[in-house]
Structures are given as structure tokens and as C-alpha cells.
Symmetry: D2
Subunit: 401 residues, 4 copies
């Protein structure tokens, strides 16, 4: 049943799907249940309440949709916008590109603000557009918080500041797929109108649950949005929320119990500690890359991502060979370079339920792979740089002190 | 973590989600994997090929979509039809009602052919419509093979015969959610253009995979269909099928391995044997209902469903009390009556990975519940009737002879 | 990986190993851990404390030994007795026979008090022996609380009364393998000196943990007992109990977590409720047997076992055919007749994490099998008799009211 | 249910219990079964046959005993020897000490040949004893193949050569607990009479199965051995082997399926490849230790163990602090120093289902811990040394080429 078994653990360092902690795997190891019995609504009630915490919202309305991130995108857009609506969207890498493609196919008029891959959203361009838009034709600003393809984190607080500065009423729709539960994310404080993530990212669950959270303003917009939607329609959920039965169609029983445990683990560690851990692992990875003498695809420190690092390989190396070699020889799964950066970067995902020694094992593997493909890295150099930082920053495990 | 623990096994007899066999639970008990490694495409390739067998098609193109049955419906409709298209749809119970609601919200012009709940699709009405439609304005006939709310199985071969008789080119779209892998279903022979099911039904897996299969004619229609779709767009899948990487977005690794095992189990038992088992269990259930002196919601034998039986309770009993009592006292999960038949029927789901003694345990439980709620059933009467039939029809377990 | 797969659940009604509840399976679904870290001793401490409750003892010392019931027997004997010691032991069925065989091979002088199989321990004979033994040569009385081969429960309180009546200091060693956690068992009140069970019986876990509990008097005896023992030596455990590390050799991490959950489930249901449930299921089974017109192997009501029922088949039937047929046709696992009653009885185990509808499913299966092998049972008769009783005695599930 | 949860994977590097591969965890994730049905004997038959391969024997008789390594020791001794028998046993560390303790308590007359801890068995002393023993009073030579406490591997072939040289008929009893399935072991070629291991070591399963294999000569000795034994008596097994039902008492169903998968994985990788992998990881670990400027507890290269490395810390450091720190800060589980070397060494277990990057993650963790406790190791130095070696010696993963 394992198509390509290799000894020992697979070292999973793609930026999703990520490692699932054992307690979550255990929680999901179960038979189906009747989702119309009192048990599942009682469980769901706790989930809908607690999931708000990962968005840092008290006023938002969450939806746990049996879909992927792509579906969550569609849910965010179709519930708040109408065909023909003008929206502003930032193109900075493969995932923002795909979202824009979706926006266009859903018949919105998309003002694309493009940046070079490796750079963050061009906020000056946004400022110009907002300033120029006296008639408030722009209905929404869509932004990927963390572009997984290039390891770029955008500054959401700055986006909010611009919207406020120009008193612009556009909705702020945020793809938090590779950020929420890992990076600092403040839905209420930053005035995010729709935020979304997928279960297989920093929540460290299997794929299959798109988690979307809507602000009161977004909920209001949903009342008049004319985009055609049925499966993704929030109203169908709201009807069942009112009934207290929660589900317009069958949820995955396993993912509900999995989410319960995933949230319990996050809260046990402390969400801020989780974010600090990601910061620590991200920094350590970047120190290793520097020690190897390689370039980070991300061009400036302000955009450095703490969940994924895209590493630029020298021009004489095909980064796909790095990824292939890692998997075929060291049971290490790295992320490919996508689209414009295909062949040029490989990616180290460092998000989800992950610790220091797992990362260092990965880094030592990358070092060996780099040598294998002809890059003269000094073995141990990246590990040393990362370890030096980690040793000074890793806290004791609270439950073990 | 179990909100309402009760001793012993839960007896799960709702018509979905159904019991998951242990080998499938085991196969899914795993960490995530990189879905871009060679392993997952290799696995997917076998799934896409083998899943055709459950549809009895060789020419169909299957899509394994991370969604539920509701999403699979949307996929079937939006990929083959354009807004404003006229379609014929049969309303015979809650699930056909919900599909029609979706069809209308997706802006198709729906000719609804309604039957009394408990009766099958009115094929005479269909014949009239087809005969009258010389201009071929009707673009699709939509039919639920097995209406889960009333336990009614429609005659798909007869629908095909009508379409052929009138040489009508309308697409035939079939909801096989509670039929495929359980009832006789022949996609190619019956000229079904889109057939669909959900993982949590007769496949006996968790919820989360909508399985849609499109005929060459449906694939052709998809090229010109103008319905807006992104998440559900077959073209995005086809692009990745061609690349051999299969996935436009992240699949659930666990469900892929689960499907592999679910198919293996079906093929080991033999699909025709699986269908015969459902026929046996369905018949046994109906014999019990008869022995109890209760009415089957399904009005005629030709519509009897082998996957779910809706039992009409006497007017002095609220069927919701039957369901509640079953759960609170006997750890037995039965299906509620829905909508028009709420309070009037309760449902026994007998689909998926289930055997004779499980059903007899359920039937004995129903007998006790009926007495509990005031219906003077003779204890053992239904079990006896069912057992008498089962004893004569149950084959030896092949692997154990 | 399943050598003889059959559709649906296996109906497991052998008197051990028994059905494991899902929460216990989940708890054991884990990697190994360092048993010398602080975590495992912390867990073990709760187990050693809480396991006393299933023995109803406050003064006993429990040992959780990586072995089976046979090993637990050996532990009980070798830690308290010396070679050549005279002991009294009751032979009433296959398991008491095996224990006596062990006692003899361990070089004790065993006074065997034999009863016809199907009868309980001959307490009059014990009385005579105790009365005659003025010199207190008898060092121990060994008794199987519940003889699994014949479905006979012995009266331990009466044994204690006799020992007290004759002021006899003999140790009272009790095999509680198929009784503890299922039948009324009171270690302290009945003055039991060593009691033991196995994890795969009423605790509803996998095989692999022999649970032995020693009274202060037994602990005292252990100081001078001269039987050779190492693996089973309680002293090795005591040494590590004192150190707070608990384990003289590596325990099964999985069984420790499994036991934790098994105890949690028992306490959640309430030990007395668990015992009442077994009483209910035992009575229901016997009513079915009576309705079938078959004889219980147990000759008198006072010895009826609430954990296993041995059913005598008519002389023209081989009970092994019943067991074989049940398995090969109905996926039902029944217990064979053993030794003297081989071919004459089959056994229905009704212990562990089991509920009413599971039992009724089993009983309906037995009815079909009986017909298959030529016994003219009226289908539904046993189920009806059992259900009539169960309907009046089954409580609501507390967590669901 | 996790008493001391920490984020990410636990890095388990104690020399047992070791990491269980996911396929084995999956295989064990199951309900109980009737062990007297035809299924379990059919499964057991394959196990008893295939397990011989890990001993490299064709003539041996294996026993799969529900016990630990300590029980397996007892089984080896009591089945082949009689009280008062003279045996030679090597004391070179904590586990050989414990076995000798057992030998003495079982009333054998033990000639202890002691070595300094960190040195291998003194074969010269053995030679003298064998030469002197013209009367063949020595009935057995007992040797621990790999002393887990000090990381010392003894030369079994040399022991056999001595026995042959002096034509001495003593049985050769070998503790292969931390060697079999990891180190080169050749039962038939080396004339080992009893070899044994435990499931939680290189087989990478949970604790609970003691695997003992007896040569024809040992089987012959078992016929006359007078040591008292019941639970551990091979004869009870042989009786059931003959019957084809295999089990004198209830086995763990889960461990049987687990063993099946564990063997399948070993054979898929190839036993010689598994041994080569251990050799590679052992060498890499020693290179790291050297790079750190620390001493291996093992005094000479000929005794270096490929399954565990005991690292001597400077006198100003307490090795228990290394172990504690590793666990409380880095989720890394290392082995304590035991008895004579307590406080002086910590141990890195590198056996079982483990790969290169897991080891490198561990080594990087050890480096950080060493710094934490005040040893001025150069971070990355050990990892670099290990990686340099591994990069040149690690083969491609066969299934992925």
C-alpha cells in the first residue's frame, strides 16, 4: 500500500500538506457517525467558536467547508462580490496568480498589481489606485498573506492603513492559507473581511477542510452579492447554524474530531508560542541558506516568510534535481520551484507541527543533496548557523519543565 | 473526545455516512505526503482507472473531487450546461428537491416533474415532455437514481429507453449517491452522461470525496458549457491528467489510500456480489417491516430501494421519537424523516460494508424502540422474517470455504 | 493483510479476546516512547493506583506484567508459595484444569477437588479439607472465579466464609480472568490474597498484559516464598516502584495508554453499571437458550455466568460445526467446546465492551446457524425472549439523556 | 492523553523501544480476533516460517512468546538447562549483568567472566575455561551479542571457533536483543543454540513479543532440561505446532499482524541492506562523537556497536543532565548511562527503522545539548563529519530509482 517505501520516516518539508501530529492522527482514527445526532452539532459548536481564535477575531463568522484552499478562495469571492465587480489583486507568485485566474474566471474585473517574483505586494501601486478611486468602484482588495511559491509575506497591517487612509470601503479579502496558525494574523485588528486557510497547512491536518472566516461587513456584503454559488453559499450554512444542526451537507466526521484535537494542541502550546516557533524555524532556515552561500528568493527582509523559504540555486543547477535527489536518496520531501521560478528555486516548508531537530535534520539533508548535485556547500555549515541561533532561542517545553 | 460515549459499538444505520471497514480505517491512518512526489500520481493513476469499474464504464472520465455529494452535483451541472439551459428534473423526495434547488440557483430553467413522495419518477410525464420537445430545447434530464429520503429507486434503463425512443439528445445526469457500489448501475449500457457519488455512501469511506464520471458526450458538452466554474472545473483536472500529475490542487492523501483499499475490498468481494448483498439486506429489511405490520414509504415494489428503507409509523407516533430513542437507549443510529415526511417515517440505511448479523441486530433494536414508543410490535417478528429469508439466500464467505 | 476477509464487521463472541472499543484502539495507535522518561512513570502511577478499583481493593498491590493470563497464574503462584507446598484447587473445566496442570508442574502438592463439568466448585469438599487440616498444611486455596469453558461462576464469598469458619490461614488465590471488570468482584471484602486478570478479557484490550493484585498477606508471603522466579518476581517490580520508575523491564507503551483509556471508559460508565450490563446480557443470553429449547452447560442457576454461556447441542449435532458455520457463513465468532465438552457445547462470550444490539445480532446469527446444522429452532424465538427482557432492563445511556 | 506533549515529533534515540514505522502501526490498528479461527493459525504459520530468516537459520525452531527480552532470556535458559548446571557467562555491562543475575537466581552455577565496562567478552578467559573443562561440566556459554549499556558487540564467530577448537559440547546461548535484524547474525553458521530478541528492538514494533529460536541441539536438550517452567515451556508450544493451531495461550492479535508487516518491510529492504544501513548509521555516529572530541565508551574498534553508541562525557558533566536537557528542550530521547557508567555516558540508539536524516537531526540536537550543559562543542562539527561519510555511502532508495 506504500507505493515507494523507504526506510525510516519521510522528512516532509513541502509547504503543505504538512506533518500531522500523532494526537490528530489518533483522533481521526475512527468510524463514521450520524452527523444528525446531537453529538456532532455539540462538537461543531465548540469548533466554530474556538476556530475564531486562530483568526484572532471575536466578531467573525467561521465556515468549515469540505473543500480545499481553492474552494475556500471561491467561497470568499462568490459570497461577497458580484460579477463585473472591480477588484484589486496582487500578483507576486504562483498562488496569487492562481487566485487571480480564479477571480477572472468568476467574472470580476481584476486590477492586477504585479511585482517581480520574490518581492511583496506593491503597496504604492495600491495607494495610487485607492487614491484615484473616488467613486469607490473597487469593491475588494485581494491579497495573499504569504505567497507559498516565493516565500514572501505581505504586510497586511499596511494594507489596512492604506484603506483607512483613503477611507476606502473596499472589502479586504485575505488568503491566509500558508500563514494562519503560523504567522502573526489579526483579523479584527487589521480589519480583514474574509480570511481563509486550509486544514493541511499550519493546522497540521489532512487536506479537506477549507476554513473561511467572514467579518460582519463581509456578512453584510453576502446579502447582496450576486455571484452564483450553491455549494459555497454561506447562507446555506447560516440556515443550519440557526437550527443548531450546523451542516447543510455531510461533513467529514474524522476532520471534525481532527480539528478539535488540532485546536487543543495549538491552545496547549499557546498560539503566540506557535507563532514564535515558526519565527524561530524560519530565521534558522534563512541563516542556513546564508551559510550555504545561496540566495533567498525573497528579496527583502521585510518580506521574509516564516513558513516557507524559497532557495535560489546557482544557474548551473536545476532545482528540480535537488527535489528529486532529496526524495530518491534521503527520503526528504522538498517543494519544487513553480512556474516562473521552476528549475531556479527549491522550497523548504517549515510550517505546522514541527520542531527544531526535525528542521536541522532537513537542513543536513539539503546540504548533502546540494553536494550531490554539484554545489560545493560545506557540510554542516548551514546546520551550524541554524543551530547557533536555535540554541539561544528555543524555550524549554513547558509541560516538561 | 467522544461527546456522548455509550458502551459497545454504535449501530450505524443512517443512509450515510456509513460504517467504514477496518482495512479502510487502517489505510487512512497515516501522515500526509507530498502530493507532487511520484508516489501520489502513481497511486492516483490506479484509482482513476479502477474507479471506472464501479460505474461500469470503460469510456467515462472520472474526477475525484475534494467535496461532498452537493459539490459533485454542482460539478455535474456546471461542466455540462449553460445558464438558461432548459432541463428536466424529477422531484420525488428531499434529495431530488435539494438538487433541483441547486439547479435553479445555478440559473437553469428547470422543468420539475413532481411525484408524490414515496413514488418514483413519473416517466410518462418525461415521455410527454420529450415527445413535445421537437426542437431539443431540453438540454439535460436530471434524475436521482435512489432517493435517500423515501427509499425509492428509479428505473434508469427506462429513462434511457425514452430518450432513445424519442431520439432525444439531452444529456442524462444521474445522482448515484446512494446507489453506486450498492445497486445495479451501468453507466455505459444505460447511456448515462454524468454519474456521481460520494465517498461516505456505498464506498464506505469518510466524507470528503465526490466522485464524478463523465461520458464522452458530457466531455464534449463541457467544452462549450458556459456555467461559471473554477473549483469544480473539469478542465483544470484534465490539464493535470495530461501532465500525469493529476491534481490541480491538494488532494487528501488519506482519502486516496482509503479509496484504494475500498476498491480493493469491493473487487475482492466482487461488485456483483456486493450488489447481491445489498439486494439481500434490502429484501430482508422489507420483510421485517411487513412482519411488524408497518408500511414502507415506497409505494410500489418496482421502486423498492436496496440501500435504504423508509418506514412509515402509525399516525399516533412521531418518527423522530423512534430515532431519538434508538440513539439514547440502544446506541442505534437511524435516519430521520425529512421535510414532507418528517415525523412520519424513520429510515433504516442498509448500504455499504454491512452484513446480515449487523442488520438483524439493528432490526431487533428497531423492534424494541417501536415498543418503547408505544407501537405493539411482536418482539422477534421482524427478525424472524428477515432471518428466514437471509438463511436461504446468504452465501458462504468465499475466502473462508 | 486480512487472511480471510468477509464483508461487514466480524461479530466477535468468543470469551476472549473480546471487542476493543474504538477509544482504546485510538489510544494505542502510537509510536513507541522512552519508558525511562518522566512521562511513562507519571502515566504508570495513575494506572497502578486506578487499577485497584477494578479489584475493589484499597490495600492491594497491583502488578501490570507483560504476559498473558497463563503468566499471571504463574506470577500468583510462584511469588506466594514454595515447592512442595500443599494447595487445594478446584477442577471444574478446561481452564481450572490448565491452572492445576501448572500448579503441579511448579511442584506444589495439589489436592484437586473435582466437579462434573458444568457444576461449580465443590465447597463441601473444601470444608472437609479445611476442617481436617488442623496443622494448616494447606498453604493456599486456588479457585477460578469464572470457568470460561463451562460458563460457571464460583461463589468466592462462600469460600472466604469457609476459610474464616475454620480460621484457616491459607492464602486465597483467584483466577479472575473472565470475571474481573464484568462480574461482581470484591478483593478486600472477600479476603482474596491474589487476584488476576488479562487485558484481553473484560478490560477489552489486546492481549499482552497480565494484571495481578496482591493483598498485604500475599506480599508478606512473597518474602519467604521459595519458588524460583525471575521474570515473574514481584520484588523486581517493587524495587522500581520504590524508585518511582516502575518498570524492571520494557513495558508496552501502547498497552499502557490503552489501559488508561480502558479504565477511563469503565469509570465513565461506572463499574457497577458495567457489572449490571454484563448481568443483563448474560440473563438475556440464557433466556434465548431456553427459548431455543437447548440446555445450558451450567447445571444450576447459582453458577450461571454473566460473561460466557456454554450451550449444549443435541447429541446428533457436533458443536464444532456450529462454530465453523457461524464463521464461514455469518462472520460470527463463537467459542468451541473444549476437552470433555468438545463437540458437545459451543460458547457465547458476552463480556467486555458490548451492548444489547450486538448481542441480539449474535443471537439471531446463532439461530440461523442452528437451523443450518439441522436443529429445528424457531427463528426469532431466542431474540424475542432476550429482547423482551432487555427492553425492560436496559437503562438510557447516561451521556445521552 | 499525552502527559508531556511537545510540538513536533519526538526524536526517539534510546536503544529501545525504537521508532515503529507507519505501516506497522497501521497493521496493528485493529480489533481483536478469535485466535482459534483458521485465520490466525494461517497467519502464524507464515510468521514462524519467515522469522527464521532474521536469525539466518533453516534448522531452528522459533517461538513467539508474549513476553519481553527478560522473559525470552528465561525461556532460553529454563528450556535447555537444569538447576545446578555450570554455565559460563560474560559480564561486560548492565544487560549482561542482569542476565547473569537471572542465571544465578534460576540456580545455575555461573562462571562469570568479567570485563571492564566498555570492553568485549574476554575470549581468552573462555578459552582457558573450555580447555580446562575436560569433563564437559560446562553446559552452556551465555553471551550477549550486543551489550546495549556500553555499545559493545561481541564476536560470536570467535566464540564458536573456540567451542569447536576444544570440541566442547556446551550449548551457545545468545542474547541478540539489540543485534538481531540490525547486526550481522548467523545462527546456523555460528552454531548458536538459542538466539533471542524482543519485538521493540530492531524489529521496530511495540514491546510484547519475545522471539526465541532454538537449534536442533537445543531442542534435544529441552527434552531433559529439569528447570521448572510452565509459561515459558517450549513443549506447550510444540504441542500446538503439531496441532496446527500454534498457540498454547492467547497471543496478541495486533502483534501478529505487526510482525507480519515488520518482516515484510525487512524483506522488502533486504536483510543485508538493513544490516548495511545500521553499519552506516553506526559509523556516522562514531564519526560525530570523534568530531566532538568525546570518547566512545567502547574501547576498541573491534567491539564498536552499530546499534548503540555510548558517549563518555567529560568528568565535569553529569550525563544524566544531557539526557534530561535533550528531552525537556529538544524533544530528543537519549539513553541514560546505567549502573557503573551512570552519569558518565549517555547513549544514542541507532537501531530499527531509521534513516540518515533522522540520525543527523539527532546529532545536531546532541550538539546543542552538549553546549547547553557546558561542553564547548563546535556546533555542526559532528553533523558535518557524519554527513561527509553518509553522503558517500547512502544508496538510492530502491523503490524510487
Amino acid at each position: 500500500m506504500d507505493y515507494v517505501y523507504g526506510p525510516g520516516k519521510n522528512h516532509l518539508f513541502v509547504p503543505g500538506p504538512v506533518n500531522i501530529p500523532e494526537p490528530v492522527i489518533r483522533a481521526m482514527n475512527r468510524n463514521n457517525e450520524d452527523y444528525r445526532s446531537p453529538a456532532i452539532p455539540a462538537l461543531t459548536k465548540t469548533l466554530v467558536e474556538d476556530v475564531k481564535k486562530i483568526f484572532k477575531t471575536t466578531s467573525g463568522t467561521p465556515f468549515l467547508i469540505p473543500t480545499t484552499g481553492t474552494g475556500a478562495w471561491e467561497s470568499a469571492l462568490t459570497n461577497t462580490l458580484s460579477p463585473g465587480d472591480r477588484i484589486v489583486s496582487f500578483l507576486i507568485g504562483q498562488f496569487s496568480l492562481l487566485w487571480i485566474d480564479q477571480q477572472q474566471r468568476l467574472n470580476f474585473r481584476v486590477d492586477v498589481i504585479e511585482s517581480e517574483w520574490g518581492r511583496g505586494a506593491d503597496l504604492d501601486a495600491l495607494a495610487s489606485k485607492l487614491e484615484a478611486d473616488r467613486s469607490h468602484a473597487i469593491k475588494a482588495v485581494c491579497i495573499v498573506h504569504n505567497e507559498t511559491a516565493t516565500g514572501v509575506t505581505n504586510d497586511l497591517a499596511a494594507v489596512r492603513q492604506l484603506l483607512d487612509k483613503y477611507r476606502h470601503p473596499a472589502l479586504l479579502l485575505v488568503d491566509g492559507v500558508s500563514s494562519i496558525c503560523a504567522l502573526d494574523f489579526r483579523m479584527d485588528e487589521w480589519g480583514v473581511d474574509v480570511a481563509l486557510t486550509g486544514s493541511q497547512k499550519a493546522l497540521s491536518m489532512p487536506t479537506g477542510m477549507g476554513i473561511v472566516c467572514a467579518s460582519p461587513k463581509a456578512m453584510e456584503a453576502a446579502k447582496t452579492a450576486k455571484s452564483v454559488r450553491v455549494f459555497f453559499d454561506w447562507n446555506d450554512y447560516l440556515k443550519f447554524y440557526k437550527l443548531g444542526t450546523y451542516w447543510p451537507y455531510t461533513p467529514s466526521i474524522q476532520l471534525l474530531y481532527g480539528l478539535r484535537t488540532a485546536l487543543d494542541l495549538l491552545f496547549e502550546e499557546g498560539l503566540d508560542n506557535v507563532i514564535a516557533r515558526h519565527s524561530r524555524l524560519g530565521k534558522a532556515t534563512r541563516l542556513a541558506v546564508e551559510a550555504w552561500g545561496l540566495k533567498n528568493c525573497t528579496q527583502r527582509e521585510e518580506w521574509f516568510s516564516d513558513t516557507v523559504t524559497a532557495v535560489v540555486v546557482p544557474s548551473y543547477i536545476n532545482s528540480a534535481d535537488v527535489v528529486k535527489r532529496a526524495w530518491t536518496r534521503y527520503n526528504l520531501s522538498l517543494g519544487l520551484g513553480l512556474n516562473k521560478v521552476a528549475g531556479k528555486v527549491f522550497r523548504i516548508g517549515h510550517l505546522g507541527n514541527l520542531n527544531e531537530l526535525q528542521l536541522l535534520g532537513c537542513l543536513s539533508g539539503v546540504e548533502m543533496v546540494l553536494r550531490d548535485v554539484g554545489y560545493p556547500v560545506k557540510l554542516g555549515s548551514g546546520v551550524a548557523a541554524a543551530a547557533a541561533y536555535l540554541r539561544n532561542s528555543t524555550p524549554m517545553i513547558t509541560s516538561r519543565i
